[in-house]
């Protein structure tokens, strides 16, 4: 077979697909998108079901492949969303979420637009990566909804530019998980190491 893919992206929508695509593109890894959204957006349940199907297939051991699911936290709490997936895997007797075994769940808080706004601010500030450098841009607030431009209590936020999700993914791929730059959204910082572990596993 001329072209075979060993990383499958299960995204909630286009932005998630582009984010993961940018990351893998930057790391020089071929990927395949399992398109699951029906309109502009998918939802948590659809992504979760598909991800579990992929894990079931992975568990059959017919082929080595890794699967990355990307779902917005959407104010539900990252731990709750992760636990929902983890408990379902456990209930079905499937392998647990483990990035070092090719099963990665990426949960942008509050949504992927948070990371896109961070990307725009970080780029405008000159992409500082040194820990010694003071943060030269305002930090994003994970409680805010940068998709609808609202604060957590429903107040309107001023619109600002968002970096294209593909470019955000490329930027994330350049960050050092062991020494992340200042000003990263916590959920993004938390995913750097698992994502690196995932790629290490896929390349082994």
């Amino acid at each position: 077979m001329a072209r075979a893919c060993s990383i499958i992206i299960v995204p909630e929508d286009q932005e998630h697909k582009n984010l993961a695509g940018g990351y893998l593109y930057e790391r020089g890894v071929q990927y395949h998108v399992a398109k699951r959204w029906t309109g502009k957006n998918g939802n948590f349940d659809r992504v979760r079901e598909w991800f579990i199907s992929e894990v079931r297939l992975q568990a059959k051991g017919l082929r080595k492949f890794g699967v990355i699911a990307l779902i917005d936290e959407d104010g539900q709490g990252p731990a709750a969303r992760r636990q929902r997936v983890a408990s379902e895997l456990e209930h079905l007797g499937l392998p647990s979420l483990d990035s070092s075994q090719g099963r990665l769940l990426v949960l942008p808080v509050r949504n992927v637009e948070t990371w896109m706004v961070w990307g725009a601010r970080w780029t405008t500030a000159g992409r500082p990566i040194s820990l010694a450098t003071p943060v030269g841009f305002p930090a994003v607030d994970e409680a805010y909804d940068y998709k609808r431009w609202q604060t957590c209590d429903g107040q309107s936020l001023p619109h600002e530019s968002r970096l294209d999700a593909f470019q955000v993914g490329r930027a994330i791929a350049t960050l050092n998980p062991t020494a992340p730059p200042p000003g990263l959204p916590p959920a993004l910082e938390a995913i750097l190491r698992p994502w690196g572990d995932f790629l290490d596993w896929a390349r082994r």
Binding site: W50, K60, L62, R63
Partner: protein, 408 residues
């Protein structure tokens, strides 16, 4: 119905067997040999129906590149139902056809060395290259033993080794079984439509449409007199589907020239467009609809290379379902090749054959159903695995499967 096809030493087909159902989907990666299968069937059909000789159909370049042998073998099993009644009645049963060709690689010459047709185990025809008189005449002769429908020997005759003897036997009351076999191949429609090559004009009738559909106007000229009802059915299908404003599809005369035209009517206006003025998708659909209607009228078989090509997404599923349903109802046999994920998800599990080969290897073919079984407890459609490049026939395995490939 064509139930089995075998080819040996033809391009990438080496000791290759394909078993066929009423509806069969051939699928597999690029270069796996799908179109070569169609090509081989088409060439043997052309030989059997006297459309060409083996000199043009089976040039030495058609031998498998890495195979040193100089013989090619083709076999068909064709099961046809009982037809007619009274003295016109013909039994249903299984035909077995075998054709053996030899090539002189240096002189790039070829000839038939053996041709045989049986029906339910009894011979209807046997032709062979006879070397016994070589010493006196300095050349072998091609002899053919004819048999009647009951399998009793008839005359022994001389034949030309550049032709199929079966194709050259005159129709007689005592060889109606052989005629029926030949008619099956005369009515076998094999298409790989290239809309750009389709001409709107013709000066003559063509009894069969060419593989690319380029002579469709000539075929239509023939069909309008011989299969008018089928043409009408094709027109209705076009109106029901892709071309709701089509009023008529016809041949218009300009002197000795006939021009295929579609006449559209909308809001009191009438527009006449030549076949070659229509879009590629419309041209493809017009040819497909006529081919399907005619294949059903004949109760024969149709083989189509990539029927979904050129068609809008909304046209594909209705077309595929109509092909499959007509085959399931016994109106015709259909064999299609397709890369389209829709055809794969709809039909591969029940009717799919996965073809595959390596660059310097022969084509291998397995049923897709075993693969579907592996995925039965997941939501992942078969086409997803194909799109990921995960489906391949394991070496030494009898089933297509997803193979472990190390690394990223």
């Amino acid at each position: 119905m064509l139930t089995r096809f075998y080819a040996d030493n033809f391009k990438c087909l080496q000791n290759f067997t394909l078993e066929l159902d009423a509806f069969t989907l051939l699928t597999g990666p690029n270069g796996s040999g799908k179109t070569t299968v169609l090509d081989a069937v088409r060439r043997v059909a052309d030989l059997l129906t006297q459309r060409a000789t083996i000199e043009t159909l089976f040039q030495t370049s058609t031998l498998t590149r890495w195979d040193k042998r100089s013989e090619q073998i083709f076999e068909f099993d064709v099961r046809l139902p009982e037809t007619g009644s009274g003295p016109e009645r013909l039994d249903g049963g299984l035909y077995r056809y075998r054709l053996r060709l030899s090539h002189d690689r240096l002189k790039e010459k070829n000839r038939v060395v053996e041709e045989e047709l049986t029906f339910e185990g009894r011979r209807l025809y046997r032709g062979w290259l006879d070397d016994t008189e070589r010493q006196s005449t300095d050349a072998p002769t091609f002899r053919a033993q004819l048999f009647n429908d009951r399998g009793r020997e008839g005359p022994l005759v001389l034949m030309d080794w550049f032709y199929s003897g079966i194709g050259r036997i005159q129709p007689r009351v005592e060889n109606r079984l052989l005629q029926r076999f030949r008619r099956f191949f005369e009515q076998l429609v094999i298409l790989g439509i290239n809309p750009d090559s389709v001409s709107a004009e013709t000066r003559r009738e063509d009894a069969m449409v060419n593989f690319s559909g380029d002579n469709f106007a000539g075929w239509l000229f023939h069909l309008l007199s011989s299969e008018a009802l089928a043409c009408r059915e094709a027109e209705h299908s076009l109106v029901d589907g892709m071309m709701p404003e089509l009023a008529l599809f016809q041949l218009e005369s300009e002197g000795t020239l006939r021009i295929a035209k579609a006449i559209f009517k909308a809001k009191g206006e009438e527009i006449r467009l030549r076949l070659d003025e229509l879009s590629a998708g419309q041209r493809a659909m017009i040819i497909l609809e006529h081919a399907l209607a005619v294949a059903k009228a004949w109760g024969g078989a149709i083989i189509i290379d990539e029927p979904a090509n050129f068609l809008a997404l909304s046209e594909i599923q209705p077309l595929l379902h109509r092909i499959r349903n007509a085959a399931a109802q016994g109106q015709m046999q259909a064999v299609i090749t397709s890369h389209h994920p829709m055809s794969f998800d709809l039909f591969a599990e029940e009717s799919g054959r996965w073809l595959e080969r390596t660059a310097l290897g022969a084509t291998r073919c397995e049923r897709v159903s075993a693969l579907a079984e592996q995925l039965s407890d997941t939501e992942i459609p078969l086409s997803e695995l194909v799109a990921r490049g995960w489906v391949q026939v394991a070496r030494g395995s009898t089933t297509p499967t997803t193979q472990t490939v190390a690394g990223g």
